[in-house]
Symmetry: D2
Subunit: 360 residues, 4 copies
Amino acid sequence: MKRLLLALLATGLALTGQAQVRNEIHVPDLGGYTTLKCDFHMHTVYSDGRVWPTVRVDEAWREGLDAIALTEHIEYRPHKDVTGHHGRSYEIAEEAARKSGILLIRGSEITRSMAPGHFNAIFLADCNPLDQKDWHDSFGEADKQDAFIFWNHPGWDSQQPDTTLWWDEHTEIYDNGWMDGIEVANGIDYFPEAHRWCLEKGLTMLGNSDVHNPIGMDFDFYKGEHRVMTLVLASERSLAGIREALDNRRTIVWIRDLLIGEEKWLHELFEKSVQVVDVQRGEGSCTITLQNTSDFPFHLKKTEHDKSFEYFRTYTIEPQSRHTIRVRFPKDYQGEGKINFRVTNLLVQPGQGMDYSYTF
Amino acid sequence: MKRLLLALLATGLALTGQAQVRNEIHVPDLGGYTTLKCDFHMHTVYSDGRVWPTVRVDEAWREGLDAIALTEHIEYRPHKDVTGHHGRSYEIAEEAARKSGILLIRGSEITRSMAPGHFNAIFLADCNPLDQKDWHDSFGEADKQDAFIFWNHPGWDSQQPDTTLWWDEHTEIYDNGWMDGIEVANGIDYFPEAHRWCLEKGLTMLGNSDVHNPIGMDFDFYKGEHRVMTLVLASERSLAGIREALDNRRTIVWIRDLLIGEEKWLHELFEKSVQVVDVQRGEGSCTITLQNTSDFPFHLKKTEHDKSFEYFRTYTIEPQSRHTIRVRFPKDYQGEGKINFRVTNLLVQPGQGMDYSYTF
Amino acid sequence: MKRLLLALLATGLALTGQAQVRNEIHVPDLGGYTTLKCDFHMHTVYSDGRVWPTVRVDEAWREGLDAIALTEHIEYRPHKDVTGHHGRSYEIAEEAARKSGILLIRGSEITRSMAPGHFNAIFLADCNPLDQKDWHDSFGEADKQDAFIFWNHPGWDSQQPDTTLWWDEHTEIYDNGWMDGIEVANGIDYFPEAHRWCLEKGLTMLGNSDVHNPIGMDFDFYKGEHRVMTLVLASERSLAGIREALDNRRTIVWIRDLLIGEEKWLHELFEKSVQVVDVQRGEGSCTITLQNTSDFPFHLKKTEHDKSFEYFRTYTIEPQSRHTIRVRFPKDYQGEGKINFRVTNLLVQPGQGMDYSYTF
Amino acid sequence: MKRLLLALLATGLALTGQAQVRNEIHVPDLGGYTTLKCDFHMHTVYSDGRVWPTVRVDEAWREGLDAIALTEHIEYRPHKDVTGHHGRSYEIAEEAARKSGILLIRGSEITRSMAPGHFNAIFLADCNPLDQKDWHDSFGEADKQDAFIFWNHPGWDSQQPDTTLWWDEHTEIYDNGWMDGIEVANGIDYFPEAHRWCLEKGLTMLGNSDVHNPIGMDFDFYKGEHRVMTLVLASERSLAGIREALDNRRTIVWIRDLLIGEEKWLHELFEKSVQVVDVQRGEGSCTITLQNTSDFPFHLKKTEHDKSFEYFRTYTIEPQSRHTIRVRFPKDYQGEGKINFRVTNLLVQPGQGMDYSYTF
C-alpha cells in the first residue's frame, strides 16, 4: 500500500514507508551565484486549489525545486468546510518542507477584479492583515510587512479579454512602491507586454505555475514537460538569499522552451550549458562537437553571415545531448572562421531571441 | 493557465477551459454482462487523504473507470480544519460525477484496531450513524441501511505483522451477516489467504486502490501501470447493476498483472481477450497467430504434454498485441494437435494459475 | 528471447514468437474518401540507411501506417558489402509487407547535386533503368515507366544553404512533365516556399520521413511524437487508390503539430475531429463542450470579433480530449452568438492558419 | 532532418548534425574495481540481425554501456546480399566505437545444433578461422587465439524444449578448456541450471542481450526497461581490464530486476547502493531513512525475526529513491535492535535471494 504515511490513530503507528524520487534540474550556476529553482504562486484546498498543502512540498521535491510559496486567495475561499486563518496552509506544510529541504515562503494572493487584478505578496510575516475591504489597505498591510509584491498573470484573458493593458491603478501601485515585479509567465502563458514593462520600469521578472490541481494533471513529466518556474540567482540557498536576489532582479523565467531574462545572464547560461568539446578544422570545412549539459534545448537560427560559409539554417541543440555541426568554407580560406546565429528561445527582449557568434 | 475551472468570485465568470483525456480500459464483456471497472475504497481531505473530493472523480474519468466510492475513515479525521459531516465528500463530488458519467457510491470506512480492523460499508443512505463508540454498533447501523460491507486489506502489516489471521471477531461479524466480501487485493498487495476465505465462505472478492495521494504519485501510468480495481460483471451500468453483481459475487480483481476470480469468468476472459486469427498447419509444424485485444498480459507456462510436441517453455502475450507461436511435431503426425499450458497470472485458486489447452 | 524471428539453420525451425503492437492513428475520413497514412521516402542498408528492409515494414505497422515506399539512392550506395540491384530492398520487404497488410510501393531516389538535387520516383516497375549518367536520362526512364515523381527536401541546407530557390533545371523538369509533386515537409523541416509552389503550379504536396536510422532513434513516440507523413484521401485502400489520389492532389501533410493542405480538406478535418457535444447557453454566457476524437491538436487564436463577446485569446484543443470553453456576452444579448478564431496549425497558405467561426 | 550523418557523395559534404543522448547507468564500483556495463552478444545484418553495425555502437552509447561485442553467426548468414568476411561488422563499427568511447570486442558465434548448441568466442584476433565443418575445429581455432569462450542461452526452448540439460559434448568442451563461462541470462530468460553450473564448475556468469532487432523494438526504455547485461568488475576501463576480470569471474548479471552473482559482490552492491541517511530511535519505535542511489530496485521480504519487533512483511526499495521505514518494538526495550530480511532479487544461489540484517 503506497498510500501510507498514514499514521493510524486507533491502530497504533504505521509500519510502512513511502518512496519518493527527486529529479534534479540541470542548470548552470551563473555570475558566481547559485541558481535556485522557485515557484512563487500556487494553491491548495485552503483557497480554490484541490490538494492538501503537504502535496505541494512533495511535488516540489520530486520536480527538483528549491523553494515554493503557497499563495492562497485572501478574498476567495470557496471550500467552506475548510476553516482556519489565511496562513494555515503555510503552517501545515512547514514540517514537510523542513524535512525535505524545500524552502517554504509565506505568501498570499490579493485577489481583485481588474484593475488592479491579482497580486502576490510573499515573504509575509502574517497573512491575515491582508484581509481588507479596500485593496489599497491590503497592499498597505503587505508593504508594512516589507513583503515582495508582484502582479500576477497580467494578460489573463478572464480579466484582460483582448489586450494586456496597464491601468491607472497599476501606475498608482507602482508609484506607491507596491509593485516589485510582474509575472511575465504564468501557467502556460508568456506575456510579452509584461516582459517589456519589467525592462522599462526595472521590475523583477517572475514565472510561476499558479497550479490548482495535483500537478501531474497539468504536466506530462515523462514527456519532458516542466512547470513554469523562476530561476533565482542567489548568493546562498536560503530564504534571505532568495529575497536579496529578487530585490536585485536576478531572475530568469523558464516556460516551455523559453528562457526570459537579462542578456548577460542568458549569454552566460548558454555558454555554460553548451560546451565545445572538440573542433576539427580541415581544408574547406570545420567540424564542431558540442555537449549540452543542461536541461534546456536551444533553438538556433542562422543570421547575417559571410556567404562563403555554409552551415545550418536552423538547428536545435536538445537537452543533455551531444551534437556535431559542420561548417563549409572555400578550400583556400585561411583566416578566422565565424558563424552567426540567433538563439530564438533565449528572450532578451519581448519575443526576441539572443544573437550569438562562434569563432574558430 | 491549465489550472482553471476556477470560478472567479470577484471577477465574474472564468472564460477558460480545461482538457481532460480519458483512457478507456479494454476488457471484454463476459457471460452476457457488462464489465464495469470499479474502485470502492479511497480517501480525500475529509479523512486522511490529500486531495479534494472532485479530484477522485477526475482521476477515475481519466483512468477509464465506471464507478468509485469515497470511503472516508469514520474514526480518523486528522485534518482538523476540514469540517463537515461524514458524508460531505460524497456531496461535494456528486455534481462532478454526474457531469462526467462516473457512478458515485456513498460509503465510509469503519476504522478499528485489529480485531476486527478496517471495513468498508458502501451503498449507504447516510454515513453519519456509523459514528459509534462500539464497533458492533457501527456494523449494526451499516447493516440497518442494507450496506454492502467488506473487510479491508486483511493482511496489512500494520495490523497483522507476520501472518494474515482470521480472528474470532471475524467469525462474529461473518455470523451476523455483516461481511459480504473481502479485499483480496489492496494498493500493491495481494492476499492469498483472503482469496481462500472468499472461495470457502462464498464471499465477494474485491480489489481497491485505497489511494490517499493524488493518484499520479502512486502509479506511473505512462509505464502501463494501473490502479488496483474490481471488475464487476453487471447486468447494467448503474448503481443497482453494480449492487446486484456484488451481491451475487460476479467480480474479478485486477492487481498488477494478476486477475483473480472464478475460473468460469477467467476462462471466458482469456478466450475473449486472445483471438486466434490464423492457423497454418504444415508438415511437422503449426503456426498460430494470436491477437490480444485486451489491456491484460497473459503469462503462459508449458504443463504436462505429449513430448513429441515442441513449443515454448514460457511465453508472454502482451496487452494489445499480435503474436505468432510455432509448434513442432513429428513430420508424419496426422492427428489432432494439442498444447497444454497454465496461464500463471489468471488466479483461480490462491496463488495458482489457470490450466488451458489449445487444440488444432 | 525477443530477438527471435531467427529461423535457425542448423537446428531446425524456431519455436519462438514475437510481439508486435500497432498504434492506430485516429484521423477522420474526408470527402467520402478513406484517409491513408503514407510515407513515401526512406532508406535501408541498400543505400545509406542503417536497417534491414523488413524493419521499415515493422516500424510502419507499429506506427499505424498504411503504405510506404523504400527509396534507395540510385547514385549513392556507400555500403559496399551490400550487393544486389536497385530494387532488392523492395523484394526483400515484400513478404513482410504482405503479411502485415502494409502497402509497399516500389521506388528510388534520384540523387544529384543541386540543381536539380534529389527526386523520388515511386510506382516504378523496375528501379534499375534509372541508373544513368545524365540525370535527364534518369528522369526520362522514370517517366517512361509512368512513375510519380516529386522533388525531395527542396530547402535542405546542404544543397540550398540560405534560401529555398527554384532553379532553371526545375523549370525544365516541370515543363517536361517530370515533376508531379514536392515535399513541403521532410524529416523535421517544413518548407513554406515549396508549399507556395505546390499551390501555384498545381503540384501534389508531400511530407515524408526520409528516415535513415532505426526510427526509434529519431522520434520519441512515448512523448506523442510522430513521423512526418502524407495523409492520402483515397477512393480505396490499395496501390491504385493511392496513385489516383496522388495524381489528383488529394493529400494533407502532417509534420509535428502542422497540417498542410487545401482549405476544403482542412476545414472538414477540423469539423470531423472536433465535435460539439454540448452547448449550454444562459443569461450572459454560453458553455460549449468539445470532444476532439482525432490525434491532432488544434491551436486556436482569437481573431477580429464583436468586442462585447469575451472568450479565450488563445486555446489549444489537445488530441483525444474533452474541453469546455466559456463565452461571455452582455446579459440582455438575445441574438445569435459568434466567435471567430484562426486555427494556426492548419496551414491553408504558406505559414498561415485557417480562419473559422463558431455560431451558437 | 534528423536522419543525417548522411555524408553525401554526389553533393559534397553534409552540413547537418545529429543529437545523441547518453543515459548513464548508476551502479556502484565494488571491491576497488570499476564496474563496467557490457553486452557480449548481439547481431547485425552481417548475420541474421536487422541493423547496420554502427547502430549497435550508437545504441550502446545511448544506453550507457562501456563495452560490446558483435558476435555474428559463423554458420548462419541468411542475408545473401551482404558479403564480406566474418570480421567485417567489427571493422565497420570500429571508428564509431572509437569516437564515442565504446570498447569494441571482436567476436563470433559458433552456431551448431544441440549438442553443443551455440557458443560465443570473444577477444578473437581473427574471426575467419572459426569457419570449420566440424565444431571441434571451430573451438580449437578459437582456443588457439586464446579467445574467451562461453555457452549461449543453454535453456533456449528451440534447442532444449523442456529441460535445460548438460550434454556429453559439454563435458568434452569443458574438459578441453573450451568453456570459460555460460550465459545465465539471455534476452528475457534467466537459466537457474546455468547459474548452478557456474557455481559448481567455477565458470564465469554472463548475461547478454542477443539482440537482433533495432533494440528499441525489444525494450521500452521510457518504462525503465533495460537490456540484459554483464556488469564486469575491472581493474581498468580497457579491453585488457575486461578480459582479466572475465578470466577471474568478477561479473554480476543484470536481467530485469534480478542481479546474479557471488554473494560478496552482491552484499557490497546492496550496501553501496542503499545508504542509511537517518536513524531516529525513540521509545518503542525506530525510523530509518534510506537513499537508493543506484538504478536497481531491491525487493525485501521479512525472514525469521524477534517477534517483538514489528516491521514490513515485504518492501520494495525503488531505484533512485528515498524511503522511510518504521520498526516498532516494546516500549521498554533498551538493547540493540535488529531486523532480518531477504533481498529476493539478489540471487546468490539459483533462484534464491540474499539474506541481510540491519542493526540499530
